[in-house]
């Protein structure tokens, strides 16, 4: 730009200079010529007068200094010429100025010399005797004048060019400096040419726009990383070359790596055949899925190809921890198997007896016993089904009647209900404590106490003792059921709350349990946001403590 400005200024300066010089010279030349024409005319008039007064001989004494005077007869013969020999000159009748003078009394013409370097002006006048007096002077042409002036003109030109180039460079520099020192960080704070202000305004506007877009982008990125950081699922993003672009902490944990792997090939981090297979399927068909076992946990891996404009630009890998899901799945399967088994056993016994009666094999006297058996098996079945319904109700978590209930009152009622069973098994029951009111579902709380006491009676020794205590605290109520029974082996303690789990694998009918009691207790307690604690020693007994928040 500096160069451009410099060149423009220089060209303009030189052009103006040359033009001025030319114009001035032509104007001066013209005015010079006009003056000389005037002089010529005056001289002609004087000489004419002189000749008319003193004849041709007057001419001969005349000193004309550069002017050429010629006297020509009306026939065109040269009579006198002050610069050449008159006798040797040709007939002048054909000359333009002579012809004009003959005709109209006076004539003039201009002729160039053969080399064009000189120009001759002729003025002619007819005298009274009919002869023609002609006066002329020769002048250098413009071209030759110029040539004569070449050296000074050139000197002036060169000097002018040098001067103007110095000036031009200064001006260009000054113009540019103010552009160069523009503060583009703060476009509006500049004090510069007015012509630039629309541009600066625009820059400032765009700057603000870029700034806001950048902050928007940053916000988006932060949001994204925040989401992926706190995600439980692992997320790995790869580019089209399989290089890690982003990996969240969950995925870092699964693949046992850290953030330093970003920018490296994913295969450096994980090269198992499952992953490679899933990524290959993802690359081919768009989606790949696989399962992975790592450090005792199970993961499900989903690899998806990311397409943009029908071109694969990368892969997204999602890692789900499915350990719990798999465990639940297994429990569900076990539950189904257990339920069918538990339902089948009494039914088979009922069927067997019914068949005996149907075929008439049973003796009439045995009939009442068979009937009793069928009834008791059916009753067992009913209890089982009721328990299952109960559990599924708890699972469903439907609308239950919540009210303020007194645990002590419930415990009293429950113990009364169980008194007969306890007496049968020669177990003593005792209740201690004070009224404790909690907000809960009466039926479920009663179920909790019933099941706990029922177990405490069933798995007790003869002459055993079951102590129930209800205590009330500021923000919690505690039910404790303590027995002097057989106790639960330590390896079973964790599992007794599972459905159908029984310490006694023979599923014996002696105790008549369904294996669902403690499961119901657990669910009902959880529903009340309570906690269960179990302390048990084989041969000494078990203490189960239920803490319910108020």
């Amino acid at each position: 730009m500096k160069k451009h400005i410099f060149r423009s200024i220089l060209i303009v300066a030189v052009a103006v200079l040359v033009l001025c010089l030319g114009l001035m010279m032509s104007v001066m030349y013209r005015s010079l010529l006009a003056e000389q024409h005037e002089q010529l005319k005056t001289k002609l008039a004087i000489i004419t007068h002189g000749i008319e007064e003193g004849g041709v001989y007057w001419l001969e004494n005349l000193d004309m200094k550069g002017y050429r005077v010629t006297l020509i007869t009306s026939e065109g013969v040269v009579l006198y010429d002050n610069m050449a020999d008159a006798a040797s000159m040709e007939n002048h009748l054909e000359r333009e100025e002579i012809a004009d003078a003959l005709q109209s009394g006076s004539g003039e013409s201009v002729r160039f010399s053969s080399t064009l370097t000189t120009k001759t002006f002729y003025h002619a006048k007819r005298l009274e005797d009919g002869s023609i007096l002609r006066i002329s002077f020769t002048k250098n042409s413009v071209l030759s004048i110029l040539l004569g002036m070449l050296t000074p003109v050139l000197i002036i030109l060169v000097a002018a060019i040098i001067l103007s180039s110095i000036l031009a460079s200064r001006i260009a520099k000054r113009t540019i400096t103010s552009l160069n020192t523009l503060d583009l960080e703060h476009p509006l704070n500049n004090n510069t040419y007015d012509e630039l202000s629309p541009l600066l305004l625009r820059i400032s506007h765009q700057k603000r726009q870029i700034e806001s877009q950048r902050s928007e982008l940053n916000k988006k990125r932060d949001e994204f990383s925040l989401i992926t950081q706190s995600m439980n699922e692992g997320l790995v993003l790869l580019n089209d070359k399989g290089v890690i672009v982003s990996i969240n902490p969950a995925a870092q944990h699964v693949f046992r790596t850290d953030a330093s792997c970003i920018g490296k090939d994913f295969f450096i981090v994980e090269r198992s055949s499952e992953i490679r297979g899933a990524m290959k399927t993802a690359a081919d068909s768009g989606h790949g899925q696989t399962k992975l076992r790592r450090a005792g946990r199970r993961y499900e891996i989903n690899a998806s190809r990311i397409d943009f404009n029908n071109e694969a630009v990368g892969t997204a890998i999602l890692v789900f921890d499915v350990t719990e899901k798999a465990l639940l799945e297994q429990q569900r399967r076990e539950f189904t198997a257990n339920v069918s088994h538990e339902l089948k056993t009494p039914l088979q016994s009922i069927m067997g007896r019914a068949e005996l009666i149907e075929n008439g094999v049973a003796k009439p006297e045995d009939m009442p016993r068979f009937g009793g058996c069928i009834r008791s098996e059916a009753a067992r079945l009913l209890i089982l089904i009721e328990d299952i319904i109960h559990l599924s109700q708890l699972d469903e978590g439907g609308e239950l009647p919540w009210e303020n209930v007194d645990l002590y009152e419930i415990a009293t009622e429950t113990l009364e209900l169980l008194q007969d069973t306890a007496t049968d098994r020669k177990v003593r029951l005792s209740l201690a404590g004070s009224p404790a009111s909690v907000n809960g579902v009466r039926g479920l709380l009663s179920e909790i106490i019933y099941n706990l006491c029922d177990n405490a009676i069933k798995y007790n020794h003869e002459d055993g003792l079951v102590e129930v205590s209800v205590s009330d605290d500021e923000n919690k109520a505690v039910i404790r059921v303590k027995d002097t029974g057989i106790g639960i082996p330590i390896e079973h303690q964790k599992r007794v709350f599972e459905r159908f789990y029984r310490v006694d694998k023979s599923h014996s009918k002696d105790t008549g349990g369904t294996g669902l009691g403690l499961s119901i207790v657990k669910h009902a307690t959880l529903l009340h946001n309570g906690k269960i604690e179990m302390n048990s020693k084989i041969g000494e007994g078990t203490v189960i403590t239920i803490t319910l928040p108020k």
Partner: protein, 217 residues
């Protein structure tokens, strides 16, 4: 130009990792088949071995193309030449795993559990292969050194296997053929350990430019 070269080197690296992973897979499959007597699993080793051979040819062609077209020097040249050497060892590992699985077919349903050290040897060899591939993947000098050192453990285990097999033949002469098969398998494991050592040494070479036990003169 350099960019494209780097891209090709990255692809080469990726292929090598895949080949290494295939080796790990094939050896652990063979070892599993040996310890469980699962001939079905042993049969699956062969196609994987074929895959490894295929990979070797692919990588070989890739390396030669890179050498010809890019005329690499210094580190790049080391990386490519080390790759060329490494694939030979990996391919051998694949072949020997195939051989092991073939022998498993002749064991008549017997497993390698009758000779305790062979199970240990299998585990040790798998560890060596995994770690040598790991050392390559992560350019981990220390791990590579550890692999080279660990070869002595495998050699020691091989001696134990021999002693145990000699005892077996002495006690049950009718088990001679079985013992010889196990000896072959143990020898293959020992060879696989050597190949893993070689891989680790080539990893050291590709990074430092010095082969093991070689000094700048």
């Amino acid at each position: 130009m350099r960019n494209r070269f780097d891209e090709q080197l990255a692809i080469l690296n990726r292929e090598l990792i895949e080949m290494g992973a295939l080796c790990e897979e094939v050896i652990s499959m063979a070892a599993n088949a040996l310890l469980t007597g699962d001939t079905e699993l042993a049969r699956k080793v062969k196609p994987l071995g074929g895959e490894i051979d295929q990979k070797e040819r692919t990588i070989e062609a890739m390396c030669l193309k890179l050498l010809l077209q890019q005329q690499p020097v210094a580190r790049d040249l080391r990386q490519i030449s080390a790759a060329l050497k490494m694939i030979t060892d990996m391919e051998r590992i694949g072949d020997q795993a195939e051989d092991i699985s073939e022998i498993i077919g002749f064991l008549n349903g017997r497993t390698g559990r009758d000779c305790a050290p062979i199970g240990e040897m299998a585990t040790a060899t798998i560890k060596m292969v995994t770690e040598s591939v790991d050392a390559f993947v992560k350019r981990d000098m220390e791990l590579a050194d550890a692999v080279v050192e660990y070869d002595d453990v495998v050699d020691e285990l091989f001696d134990q296997v021999k002693t145990s097999l000699i005892g077996m033949i002495a006690k049950h002469p009718q088990d001679g053929e079985y013992a010889l098969d196990l000896l072959m398998i143990a020898k293959y494991f020992e060879r696989i350990g050597d190949h893993a050592t070689n891989i680790a040494e080539w990893v050291l070479f590709s990074v430092t430019g010095l082969h093991r036990r070689e000094n700048v003169t």
